[in-house]
């Protein structure tokens, strides 16, 4: 097992948790990306958009800041220290995946951050159910695509 990768995962996870805590402490909001950004784009809520835009810009600039600092602080699997990894699918696959992620997180009121991090931390039954469900279908999808259909190459 790659302990450095795991340790970086833990450190990054704690930072994500601090971000979620900070957002609740200051603005009283759940740090759910699909909710923050999705509602910004589809609803443009009056008087409730500025912090969403700022959050979005912060989210994009975080990895850029790490890249600018240098020093190999990222955790890409095949390239140690690299900050942003390459997509694993071609354009066609990603078009389908994006639609499923958008529709799914929209209907399901949340994604890995809103349900998976903030919801589980609140011990919310809806988030536990949603997280169990999307983990299950993701595991099954990867099994079918990689081991039965031979997509995604690596194995």
């Amino acid at each position: 097992m790659d302990w450095t990768a795991s340790l970086q995962g833990l450190v990054g996870g704690v930072l994500i948790g601090l971000s979620a805590t900070w957002l609740m402490a200051t603005l009283g909001r759940i740090a759910g990306i699909s909710g923050i950004v999705g509602n910004l784009i589809t609803q443009r809520p009056k008087g409730d958009s500025a912090w969403r835009v700022a959050f979005l810009l912060g989210l994009i600039s975080g990895p850029l800041l790490l890249m600018a600092l240098g020093g190999g602080l990222g955790n890409v699997a095949e390239i140690p220290g690299e900050v942003i990894g390459a997509p694993v699918g071609d354009v066609g696959l990603m078009l389908v995946a994006g639609l499923l992620v958008g529709v799914g997180t929209g209907l399901g009121s949340g994604c890995t951050s809103g349900h998976g991090v903030c919801g589980l931390a609140r011990l919310a039954p809806r988030s536990m159910a949603a997280t169990g469900m999307f983990l299950l279908t993701a595991l099954v999808t990867v099994y079918i695509s990689r081991h039965l259909l031979g997509l995604g190459g690596v194995q």
Binding site: G12, I16, L18, A50, G74, I84, P87, V91, A97
Partner: protein
């Protein structure tokens, strides 16, 4: 009048700054943990292959930190910058929640991207990622129509 006006401007500015700080910290967390690499995410989901445990540490670290953090935050009656704590009030496990989560999981498994890492990876822009971001936004509009 003037002073209350500038007071409210100052408060808006602080809310925006707090939002930026949260996003920045979140983006750094995703990048440090390796979640901006979809291969790591798919590696975690590939339990029948060369399993990559990284995501487990990320989710574990994030949930435990947030669990403790929220406990401290909720000792207050309101957020530091005003307003109220806006928490979901729905309780029922309906078809929309479970069906939506199921669809999301399929897209997540296919691409290795959930919304946070997909957006945080914009700086390393590639055509497949751009394609995904476009249909993800389209999907949010579709979901709003269906809801």
């Amino acid at each position: 009048m003037n002073s209350s006006m500038s007071q409210s401007n100052k408060s808006n500015w602080m809310k925006t700054a707090a939002g930026y700080a949260a996003g920045l910290l979140f983006g750094i967390g995703l990048a440090v943990s390796g979640m901006t690499d979809p291969a790591r995410v798919v590696g975690f989901l590939d339990v029948a292959g060369a399993w990559d445990p990284t995501l487990m540490f990320v989710l574990g670290g994030a949930v435990i930190t947030t669990f403790v953090g929220y406990r401290l935050v909720f000792k207050r009656t309101a957020p530091l910058l005003g307003g109220v704590f806006q928490l979901p009030t729905k309780r029922e496990l309906d078809a929309k929640l479970l069906g939506g989560a199921a669809l999301f999981g399929i897209g997540w498994g296919l691409s290795g991207y959930c919304p946070g890492p997909a957006i945080a990876s914009i700086g390393g822009l590639s055509l497949p990622l751009l394609a995904m971001l476009v249909t993800m936004v389209l999907g949010w509009f579709v979901a709003k129509r269906l809801a």
